[in-house]
Every structure is written in C-alpha cells, then in structure tokens.
Amino acid sequence: MTASINPYFPILIAFVLGLLIAGGATAASFLLGPKKPNPAKLDVYECGVPVVGTARQRLSVKFYLTAILFILFDIETVFLYLWAVLFDELRWFGIIEVGLFVGTLVVGYIYILRRGALNWD
C-alpha cells in the first residue's frame, strides 16, 4: 500500500513552515537587537557621500526589451516540454511539427540579432 495525500499539500506545509522560519528570524532580530536610530543611519547609503538625486529615475529600455523577449522564449520552452514528454508517441510527426515551430522562432531570433537588440552598450 502506498501512503499518499494530495501532492500539493506538502507545498502548502513547506510554504507555511518557511514563512514561520523566515518571519521568526526577522522578528527575533527585531526584538533582540538594539534600537539607536539617528538621521545619518537612516539616510540613503551612498558610501558616506551626501545623497545625489533620487532612486526614482527612469532606466534603460533595455531591461524592458530583455523581459519581453524572455516571455516569448519562455513560452516556447514550455511548449517544447510538452513535446518532449510525448516524444516516443508522436515520433517523426512530432519532430517535424516542432521543427517547424522552432524554425519560425529562429527567424525571429535572427531578426533580434540583426537588429542588435541583444547588444548592451
């Protein structure tokens, strides 16, 4: 007889235990540590030099592009996993099908490369 419970239940237990451990550690250090705040300590840390400007500035659009391209290739990877689990059953049909799918995306990848979207300068 195999002992079994819902396979998602352990995730919940682990999540709650992890939360207790991490939250407990934070609370413990909050309770145990000294509290001597002063303006310099609470200020932004910039190596001791007076703070210049704020952190709320706009940043390079490159990060956005990276994230968008990540979504697209991530979806591709997830689809490919579906094919991989059924590799033996789909046989050459699956390989050709996925070949076409990947082929289309390679066109997109080459376009990305040629446009220099992956160059960080």
Partner: protein, 189 residues
Amino acid sequence: MDLNFIAFVVMGLAATILSGVMITRRWPVSAAMVLIAVMTLLAGMFGLLEAHFAAAAQIIVYAGAIMVVFVFVMMLLNLPPEELRYGGVTWGEMVLISLGVLVAIVLGTQVGQGLLTQGLESMGYAPGQTPAHAKSLYFAADENVKNVAATMFVDYLWAFELVSFLILAAVIGSIVIAKKRSAENANAA
C-alpha cells in the same frame, strides 16, 4: 466534507478578495505583487483540479515571466502615485467594465456556459467528449502533462503552429517599439 473541495473554495475566495485588494492599491508595484499572489493561488486551484500542467505553466509563464515584465516596466518608469491619474471613470473604462461583467456572467453561470457550448456538438466538440486524437495517445488521468501534449500536438496542431507566428510577430513588434523609443531618447539627450 472533502478536504480538496474546502481547500478549493478557500483558495477561490482568497483569490477573489486579493483581486479586489489589487485594484485598490495606490502603488503600481504593490498591485503587481498582489496579482502575483492571485496567480499563485490560481495555480494551486489548477493543481487541485489535477490540471498539473496548467498549474506549472501558470507559475512559469504568468507569475514568472509576464509579471516580471509588468514589474520591470513599473520600476523603469518609477511613477509615484501622485503622477498617476485617480478618480473619474472615463467612457472607455465604462465600456471595458461592462464587457468584464458580461464575460463574468457568461463564464460564471450555467446558462452562459450552455450558450457557449451550444452548437459545438454538431462540430464534434461536445463538452466531455473524448478528443479526436488516436487511441494510442490516451493516458491515465494522472498523466495530465501527456494528455495536454496529445491534445495540443494532434487536435490543435494548426493552432500550435500558428502560435509560433504569433510569437514571431510579438518579437518583431516589441523590438520595433523599443528601438523607436531608444532612438527618440537618444535624440532628446
């Protein structure tokens, strides 16, 4: 009472309440974080329905990829709440809200679901009917990932191949937009 059912209802309620919390946040980043929690709950609900692949994909694609873009954009723009527009619902938003209510009614009630699946039977897609792919590709109910794969690669072959073109279009579109913006920035600077 079945423990799975209770868990499902609790998670559903939590997801609904958190969705309400999400749309009332002042900071966009807070809203995004709550949305990630909602998506994780949805993944858990998929899992309880034994849709293991949907559960994993929900986290990997939605919480792990799409939300990263949301968070990035919010961090890149770094708009404080004061610069965002609050109050006053525009006509466009009214239309969107009523569309949302309509979708909720259609998907959430038995009558609505009946309307959606009506006429599908004549096309061979009756609810609960077995998929069209070969018998050799049927797997036990706990082999959810393989069943999803069989349905996608046989029944929805064309849709799957078209997705690659959709992704291709998205790749090109995102680069065109981002490159245009960066050229404008270069000119401005």
